[in-house]
């Protein structure tokens, strides 16, 4: 008689299609063999993961159709066990998988579209954005301007792609009523900021300059370093014009002083 641990190991191995040792401990019945009994669980486990991916990636599902989606999902599931009790955490690297999945080669925009869907999924339940304390910022700016390190909203993701994935995403929403034609441009790069302010989820299209400054902020560069980068790469642009725009759009959620708990 197997111990509970041994039985669960054998059962897990069967679910993972590694071996069928567990079958010797399962009774067959009038209608089903031992293998068919355990396969009911195997199918349910796979179905749960497939449904989880479908829920997170509805645009991908719509773009490729159910059969192709399930073909991708099945191969991904075979390679990728779930390591969280939360099904919403499953599928983070689905885009990377699709990028190496030969049957999807003819859909080069698909991995980035899937990255956008993951970003949308993760910001939905991320922590709320704090309100930037303008009074404190004004006081600190005068004393410690160059050492200020800004923070983006906790619920935010920066993405860039050579494909207009924001338009692909929008055109495949249930309530979309606009044009159904998409123009692909050679040598174009699209910069996106996907973020949530309270319950309002947004995809903002950025300029290359805005993208770079937001990346520097995301990388926790102090304002002095950002000014220096800006001077070198965009000599005609000024942080004095950029920062107020970022603040008014809600893109900056907080700040701290580098190497100091507070400004004096």
């Amino acid at each position: 008689m197997p111990s509970l641990h041994e039985l669960q190991k054998m059962f897990a191995d069967f679910l993972n299609r590694e071996n069928d040792d567990v079958l010797q401990h399962v009774q067959s019945s009038e209608h089903l063999s031992a293998q068919e009994h355990v396969a009911i669980y195997q199918n349910s486990v796979r179905g749960a993961l497939q449904n989880g991916l479908k829920e997170i990636y509805p645009v991908c599902l719509k773009l490729v159709g159910e059969d192709f989606f399930l073909m991708m999902a099945d191969e991904y599931i075979d390679q990728t066990p779930s390591h969280s009790s939360d099904l919403g955490h499953y599928g983070e690297d689905f885009a990377d998988f699709i990028a190496t999945f030969p049957p999807a080669e003819s859909l080069p925009y698909l991995p980035d579209t899937v990255r956008l869907e993951w970003a949308w999924h993760t910001i939905y339940d991320a922590a709320n954005t704090t309100r930037l304390d303008f009074q404190k910022l004004a006081a600190c700016y005068n004393q410690e301007g160059g050492n200020i390190v800004f923070a983006l909203p906790p619920a935010s993701v920066l993405l860039s792609s050579p494909y207009p994935i924001h338009q692909i995403w929008e055109m495949n929403q249930a309530d979309y009523t606009g044009e159904d034609q998409l123009t692909l441009r050679e040598n174009q790069q699209y910069y996106l900021f996907i973020w949530r302010s309270r319950s309002n989820l947004r995809i903002d299209l950025l300029t290359e300059l805005e993208w770079n400054v937001l990346q520097w902020i995301q990388n926790k560069l102090p304002l002095g370093q950002i000014c220096s980068n800006l001077h070198n790469e965009y000599p005609n642009d000024s942080i004095a014009e950029i920062l107020p725009q970022f603040i008014s759009r809600g893109w900056l959620a907080d700040f701290f002083i580098q190497n100091k708990p507070v400004c004096a």
């Binding site: 039985l7 190991k9 009911i40 669980y41 989880g52 339940d125 709320n128 906790p154």
Partner: protein, 276 residues
């Protein structure tokens, strides 16, 4: 019967029903909330839940404690659950008598335990630890079963009762699951009801299954079947008007359809409300 202030028929809260519940505030005595859907830091789901708990009493129903697993208990999961309990102050908290993870891998399915003394002691020990961490009794739910292990030494009902007694916890008795398991494993569901002690039963579940040629599958995707309504009637007759919730997770209908199922359940329960 276990003590709770809940009465009557509740329904499972699903996100597609947020607008209806928040705007129409339909008359329903309580809602059962899937706890695992609200372990997030913030966001719209949590905002909706906060609105809804300001209108309705709730219970929390979990799927991720993995009470029967031989993996270590997931303390991060239990801390998130404790935070949610503190936020929504549920009347009852439940999870399933099963395992869902092994060696750190999560299967997102309610997997079967062998009905052995070892499994009784193992599950009961873990339930006691969970109850200590959460500082409250929890309910354990019988799951639908699609197989029998050849080395089981107890019946399913004796196993459920033994774990609940050993852990000193409550029981959420899923009437649909009893029916599905009885069909798949060829036992008399009335024998199941007859064997259970009244004192630990704190809640019933009702749901729909899917019928295959070889077995029944617990899908929560259909109305409650007539045979399950009959078994519900039998359960009420034995255990009294235990608070009951309707579960519907796939092909979810509009809320009025759920209310219709709840009203039907209430009508059946009404026969037992006075004498119990």
């Amino acid at each position: 019967m276990a003590t709770t202030t809940l009465k009557g028929i509740g329904v499972g809260l699903r996100s597609c029903h947020y607008p209806f519940l928040e705007l129409e505030k339909p008359s329903i005595p309580w809602l059962e909330v899937l706890a695992d859907n609200y372990f997030c830091a913030a966001g719209p789901s949590l905002q909706h839940l906060e609105k809804i708990v300001s209108i309705y009493p709730v219970t929390l129903h979990c799927v991720g404690m993995s009470l029967g697993s031989t993996d270590p208990l997931d303390t991060k999961y239990l801390k998130k659950l404790k935070s949610l309990i503190d936020l929504v102050k549920p009347q009852l908290v439940s999870d399933h008598l099963c395992w869902t993870s092994f060696a750190g891998q999560h299967f997102h399915e309610l997997l079967p335990l062998p009905y052995t003394e070892e499994a009784v002691v193992h599950a009961a020990n873990r339930i006691r630890i969970v109850q200590d961490l959460l500082q409250r009794k929890i309910m354990i739910e019988n799951v639908s079963s699609y197989l029998s292990f050849s080395h089981s030494t107890l019946t399913e009902w004796d196993f459920l009762q033994a774990v609940a007694d050993e852990a000193d916890c409550l029981i959420l008795l899923d009437i649909n699951n009893i029916y599905v398991s009885s069909h798949n494993n060829h036992f008399d569901p009335l024998q199941y009801l007859a064997a259970l002690s009244t004192k630990r039963i704190a809640q019933f579940h009702l749901a729909g299954y899917q019928e295959f040629e070889t077995h029944l599958l617990d899908t929560h995707g259909a109305p409650v079947y007539p045979a399950v309504w009959k078994l519900f009637n039998d359960a009420l007759e034995k255990f009294g008007p235990i608070p009951t919730s309707i579960e519907w997770d796939n092909n979810i209908p509009d809320f009025p359809k759920l209310l219709q199922e709840a009203r039907h359940a209430q009508k059946i329960m009404g026969k037992y409300a006075i004498t119990a």
